[in-house]
């Protein structure tokens, strides 16, 4: 019989963002393998969307109490429930309770920044009760293990997958002409320009530009993304780079247009110190663009080794300059290193984890 999964998530279909995308990728992979999945989201409406076979999504329920009620009734309708999937650690107590109530196994997904500071109490105990916990990166796994007393064997890593639209291709001459990029080389950064996300390291890159432009006079830094910090960053770019031609802010670019930008650029640069996973590094590299990222957070997982790029200490300006200089001469990212992040590998890993969860010890039942 197919595995029946009740999935409690922040958002999934009908929502934007990395976690929604990850949930979609995961549920599609599991449903393709035969699982019957009912999703209960807090945000994002799937009404009118064509969902994959065997996947249904409940209308969004934002309020905490109503979400619990909706989850309970959804679980009742979806029974027998084999697995309760929990997409956010703060829903862990609810997922734990439902899994006990319905005799289901309990799968907890922990994303990057949401487990940084668990206190004592219920949430932590609910995390520790998980039959299987997955994280997107090794760093998040380590962080989780350092804070919760859970057997390390139960905490597995299921990295983000990179979608097929991100693939190498010829650079668009039309786009190049439209953007008036000149001789280049072109450095590219893609990320939200939010005051809350200053860790992405735009300013460190701006500060590296004078030294780099002394060596590569045509070098241009393209900044993609928008946000409440943009005005300040534009000023800082002028101050630090010293030349209005050095940095170009392109604002928000729809996702569909990103591959062409990646194919156009010579190097992806984002010395971020706190990426949960760093999916942009991977998407850039999947388009053939070499990457200079920042060490810290989960970035090491999206830049697995020198075939893709290098992660530098975001606080070390000289190292950043040296890494950019060196990387510009190293050609594109090796697609063999990106292959394991492609969908078939992700789907295989996800279905194996589900099989392991279903055949492993049933902690709820064993404890009872």
């Amino acid at each position: 019989m197919n595995t029946r999964i009740l999935a409690l998530v922040g958002d999934c279909y009908g929502a934007q963002g990395g976690i929604a995308r990850y949930n979609q990728d995961l549920f599609e992979a599991l449903a393709e393998d035969g699982a019957e999945i009912l999703i209960v989201p807090r945000l994002g409406d799937a009404a009118g969307l064509a969902l994959p076979a065997r996947v249904q999504q409940h209308p969004p329920v934002f309020g905490r109490l109503m979400f619990s009620v909706a989850s309970l009734s959804a679980a009742w309708r979806h029974r027998p429930v084999d697995v309760v999937f929990c997409g956010h650690v703060f829903m862990a107590p609810l997922a734990w309770a439902l899994s006990r109530l319905f005799g289901a196994r309990y799968w907890l997904q922990a994303h990057g920044i949401d487990i940084l500071s668990l206190g004592r109490g219920l949430v932590r105990r609910a995390i520790e009760a998980a039959d299987l916990a997955t994280t997107v990166s090794r760093a998040t796994r380590k962080n989780l293990l350092a804070q919760a007393d859970i057997a390390p064997e139960r905490v597995r890593v299921l990295p983000n997958t990179v979608r097929g639209m991100f693939a190498p291709g010829p650079p668009s001459e039309a786009l190049r002409a439209r953007l008036q990029l000149g001789a280049g080389p072109v450095l590219l950064t893609v990320g939200r320009l939010a005051a809350s996300e200053r860790y992405k390291g735009h300013e460190q890159t701006f500060a590296a530009l004078p030294a780099l432009r002394a060596e590569f006079p045509g070098l241009i830094h393209l900044v993609v993304g928008d946000g409440d910090d943009r005005g300040r960053l534009e000023k800082r770019a002028l101050e630090l780079a010293g030349d209005p031609a050095a940095v170009r802010f392109l604002g928000y670019v729809p996702e569909a247009d990103l591959p062409d930008l990646y194919r156009l650029a010579d190097l992806f640069v984002m010395p971020s110190s706190h990426e949960g996973f760093g999916i942009v590094y991977l998407e850039a590299a999947a388009c053939g663009l070499r990457v200079v990222g920042g060490a810290g957070g989960g970035s090491g997982d999206a830049i697995p080794d020198g075939r893709v790029g290098v992660a530098v200490d975001p606080g070390d300006g000289e190292a950043l300059i040296a890494a950019i200089r060196r990387s510009l001469g190293e050609g594109g990212a090796d697609q063999a290193a990106i292959e394991p992040y492609r969908r078939p590998h992700f789907a295989a890993a996800a279905t194996k984890l589900l099989a392991r969860l279903r055949t492993g010890p049933h902690r709820m039942r064993d404890a009872a």
Binding site: R138, E153, P159, D305, A349, K352, R356, P361
Partner: protein, 604 residues
């Protein structure tokens, strides 16, 4: 008997095995195996093994490792000895299996083909191995029932690494050195780091008596195939309390164990102290036909001519059984000279192991590769004071355990009094609080510091975190789960065997012995031997710890029976104290406290 290590990049996104990293792990273990070195990388580059060889059985190149099955589907890197490998080989040959070597390693490969990972249950010996099964694409890690051979692993969520030594994992360069509060607190409590913790968060021990399967999803939870408590429980069940046969049973069991532990293609020596346990080993060896055995005894310059000097009595026993006797005298200068090397070889912090370091050093100088040791006899025959103290404490103090809070209150009052200068060991303060439960009484007996004393030594956040994860009392109590009630003797034997012996004595014997390329064999540490002994209450009734003297024919000389048990009396205690800068005129326990601090600093 060797050093092993391996890497399995189990997740597709993980970079393939780095041969250079494997090489660094191998080099860190060089003293474990000076006779050979080999590595192997799977054709797809996802698995790599390395091996340092100390050649003891089948000295030829056919015994070299990593070793493959005839069809190449299985590959093993193995550390240890399988004492019943000839019996197992004969069984397999009777089933039509063809062998290409005389090594015990090949028996493991063929036995796995026959029985899968459950084959560990048939093995008599000490072992740790990694076995790659390319058909099922899985790595099997296994460790012997009592934990004689070490095996550590580091799993970062992409790649699993394993090695005989935690320090070899670190030497590879890819494993995090972040400290583990549970291991650090455990060391300060007990003087050794309790399994499965190490002092590094990223490194854990494969539990003794467990196998662990690593597949494409990573390591699965370890599967426990042996438990001391269950084994002693079974032993107590079948037999009736018949003391008349007990001595004969004891004698047969030891003869059988020693005979198995003599399986070797190189000479087997013995570490001989003035005690009965090692003397009984030498006597039994002689009775079984071992000729011209080398017996190595450690002596200390400071004790020359004193009652504490073990050498004269050991010489008498050696002569009694026709052994060649080597007495190796150690002085303080040598201790101080070796100290940096001792710290380097010490795989995890410990307050012991120094004696083993020197006796193994002496054996190595004498050209020896293998030696029997009396380690473990105190655990199975009830040789420690804990066999009396712990049950007495539990029975006497049980009424206090019933009143919650009374013990804790008494402890606070006592602590204050001790701090104010009454001449009582600080641990005494916890008697009422801890002494009424088995786990608590045992902790009180074996601990260097008690939990409430660590406030002064360790960072409060680290201490809280470490104590929470370590949960010492429930961890100790868990060892007693036998599925049936155990008698007093068996309870203490279980705790001493699965905690003190495993985490302290056996781990120390491994690093201190292997640092000198010496394989230490322990006939008293053997599940087959334990199972063949009479039940615990019978062992206590016949005073087994004295009765071992009569096992060999001829029995041990009278002088060795009359020697009062001195326990751990060596000047090492004083050297440690002085090396760690503690005040003069303190007890050994206090010296071990000062030493614990010094070691803790060396690993910080």
């Amino acid at each position: 008997m060797c050093g092993i290590a391996g890497i399995y990049a189990y997740l597709d996104v993980a970079p393939s095995v780095d041969r250079v990293e494997l090489g660094r792990m191998n080099v860190r273990m060089a003293p474990r195996g000076p006779d050979g070195s080999g590595d192997w990388l799977s054709p797809d580059g996802r698995v790599g093994f390395t091996h340092r060889r100390l050649a003891i059985i089948d000295l030829s190149e056919r015994g070299a490792q990593p070793m493959h099955s005839a069809d190449g589907a299985l590959t093993i890197t193995f550390n240890g000895e399988i004492y019943n490998y000839r019996e197992l080989k004969a069984e397999l040959e009777a089933k039509g299996r063809v062998f290409r070597s005389d090594s015990d390693t090949e028996v493991l490969l063929q036995l796995y083909e026959e029985r899968g990972a459950a084959m560990v249950e048939a093995l008599r010996g000490m072992f740790a191995f990694g076995l790659w099964d390319s058909r099922q694409r899985r790595l099997v890690l296994a460790r012997d029932p009592l934990g004689i051979k070490p095996l550590y692993y580091a799993d970062d969520g992409w790649t699993l690494r394993f090695a005989s030594q935690a320090k070899a994992l670190l030497a590879g360069g890819a494993v995090s050195r972040d400290p583990d509060p549970a291991g650090i607190v455990g060391f300060h409590l007990l003087g050794s780091v309790p399994e499965p913790f190490t002092v590094w968060q990223g490194i854990r021990a494969v539990p003794a008596g467990a196998t662990m399967v690593v597949d494409a999803t990573g390591p699965n939870a370890p599967r426990q195939y042996y438990s001391v408590a269950r084994s002693l429980g079974r032993r107590a069940e079948g037999a009736k309390a018949d003391t008349s046969q007990a001595r004969a049973t004891l004698s047969a069991a030891l003869h059988d164990s020693v005979r198995h532990h003599l399986v070797s293609d190189v000479p087997v020596a013995v570490f001989l102290s003035a005690g009965l346990d090692s003397g009984a080993l030498l006597g039994t060896m002689a009775e079984l036909g071992a000729r011209d055995t080398l017996a190595v005894t450690l002596a200390f310059e400071e004790f020359r001519g004193a009652a504490l000097d073990e050498a004269p009595l050991a010489a008498e026993v050696a002569a009694h059984y026709g052994a060649r006797h080597v007495v190796r005298t150690v002085d303080r200068r040598e201790f101080e000279r070796d100290l940096p090397a001792i710290f380097d070889a010490m795989d995890l912090p410990t307050i012991d192991g120094i004696n083993t370091w020197f006796v193994a050093k002496a054996a190595h100088e004498a050209g020896i590769k293998v030696a029997l040791s009396g380690l473990g006899a105190d655990e199975c025959f009830g040789g420690y004071p804990s066999f009396v103290d712990v049950p007495r404490s539990v029975h006497l103090l049980r009424p206090f355990g019933v009143l919650p809070g009374l013990g804790a209150l008494a402890r606070r009052v006592m602590s204050a009094a001790i701090a104010a200068g009454i001449g009582v060991h600080p641990k005494a303060a916890g008697l009422l609080q801890y002494g009424s439960s088995w786990a608590g009484a045992y902790l009180l007996r074996r601990s260097v510091y008690m939990p409430w004393e660590l406030d002064d030594l360790l960072d409060p956040a680290l201490l809280e975190e470490g104590l929470r994860r370590l949960a010492p009392l429930s961890r100790i109590a868990a060892e007693l789960q036998a599925g049936r009630p155990l008698g007093d003797f068996d309870r203490v034997a279980t705790l001493e065997t699965s905690l003190y012996m495993r985490n302290q004595l056996l781990r120390d014997a491994d690093w201190a012995g292997m640092a000198h390329s010496i394989e230490i064999r322990v006939p008293y540490v053997d599940p087959f031997f334990l199972a063949a002994l009479p039940p615990g209450d019978v062992l206590a009734a016949v005073n087994a710890k004295q009765a071992v003297a009569d096992i060999p024919v001829p029995p041990l000389p009278a002088a060795s029976r009359n020697r009062p048990k001195t326990g751990f009396v060596t000047p090492v205690g004083r050297w440690l104290r002085e090396a760690s800068g503690a005040a003069e005129d303190v007890t050994f326990s206090a010296a071990s406290r000062a030493w614990a601090l010094r070691i803790g600093q060396a690993f910080a």
